[in-house]
Symmetry: C2
Subunit: 259 residues, 2 copies
């Protein structure tokens, strides 16, 4: 996809970001709500919504007076079913978004360098494969009217003091190392990092912190690859349900091409 | 206590707040780390630390290059043991703080109107009894060099779309209603609300939102009292361990007067 904008207007106001971090405890997933409150329509998007908490998220959207336009995934999740499909059944105008490289179904497909506009704020798409082939990181824009410090929604590519596993779904520790070092660690050090999961109670980190203290990704590549080869993780219990559902955007019953 | 300041200097820099929200999943407790990064010593405090996650919090304090000076509680918790005592055993210079009205032990006792300085940033103390007799809310200062919007750490007085129970520890639904309406709902509507707990995956709310959408406290007082009288909650499983421990700041073994 190219640059999607909800408006062609030249609003003189600085964009004002509404931001909420939301947690789904069964899969320890973070969903993020972002909106441009300075835009008349208050266009909003959800990053990595979960089916089980979609109603909670939509109630919040309503209470805050926002208009949801996009349901976005960082990748095809293996541990929970995306809320994108459910959200689309309740708000048919909402467009689902995922990377073209994921090979999953969605209304819109993004590629590296694309910009996703909501009001006057945008997310930039960066390819960060390694956990899966199609993983992307969404980063708030670089510009005078964009949120400062920048914010990066890293999915499972980079977790706080950790990272996603690389042993299935086209995973590659070699690729993940390169992705994080070239696409995330090159952002300004004060960039706020918001992962798709946390299991220890952390809510946010920064690029500077992870470069120094990430016990895996602060190491050299060979050490990192060794660590990832010896994690001995069990098979994800939700995988056989979640992956097929998420390949069709969480709507297994849908007959339509886009979901 | 009066106004505690870590410095008498007249730093020309605007204070810069370091802020982290941390979660303890067993009791669904939020701990908050705040520090003044613009001050040479980077003085920091923890609000409502939990014993089980004290090591995590102290590791983060160290990695961020902060100097912890206070371990603060909003009240005597009934559902988990405070981390204050454990933190003090590891960092003997840290002072524990709780309200005078709590009747618990601590190094320093606060009363309504007191200011707790860390660097050039301060928290203002507001009495918000009702969940317990000694509950207080800590609110970031009102001033040109203080964080904007303001932030209120409400303990169990006000939860996101909820509130703490009022059926033990000197609880009173009548008092809680008055506390929230006179001490929290009078703050600017964009004030960010950070509670001691959340059970639904919310991380933050605002005064404006809770005034409109809190299903209990947006009602009139009689309706609120009726709701609180009919919650039929079970006895907290941790209460008989947590309350005695928290009355002495989490250090049951201590022989000293202050803990």
């Amino acid at each position: 996809m190219g640059s999607y904008s909800t408006t062609s207007s030249s609003a003189q106001n600085s964009p004002k970001l509404v931001f909420r971090q939301l947690f789904e405890k069964e899969s320890s997933t973070y969903t993020y709500l972002l909106a441009d409150a300075s835009h008349p329509q208050k266009p909003a998007l959800l990053i990595d919504p979960v089916d089980k908490t979609a109603d909670r998220d939509l109630a919040l959207v309503k209470e805050l007076g926002l208009k949801i336009i996009y349901a976005i995934n960082t990748h095809v999740h293996a541990d929970h079913v995306t809320g994108s499909g459910l959200i689309k059944t309740k708000f048919p105008g909402v467009k689902s978004i995922i990377s073209k490289a994921s090979n999953a179904k969605a209304d819109l497909f993004v590629e590296p360098g694309d910009k996703i506009y909501f009001g006057d704020i945008f997310l930039e798409v960066r390819a960060t494969p390694g956990h899966t082939l199609g993983c992307v990181t969404y980063v708030t824009g670089d510009g005078p009217n964009q949120p400062q410090p920048r914010m990066a929604f890293t999915g499972d590519a980079l977790l706080i003091r950790g990272c996603g596993r690389t042993d299935f779904q086209g995973g590659s520790s070699d690729k993940l190392y390169d992705s994080v070092h070239s696409q995330i660690f090159t952002l300004p050090k004060d960039t706020l990092l918001y992962p798709a999961h946390d299991y220890k109670g952390f809510t946010v980190s920064t690029v500077g912190e992870e470069m120094l203290y990430n016990p895996r990704l602060s190491k050299d590549k060979e050490t990192f690859k060794n660590i990832m080869q010896n994690l001995n993780l069990s098979y994800p219990k939700m995988m056989d349900v979640a992956v097929p559902a998420n390949m069709v955007c969480g709507l297994q019953e849908t007959k339509s091409e886009a979901c």
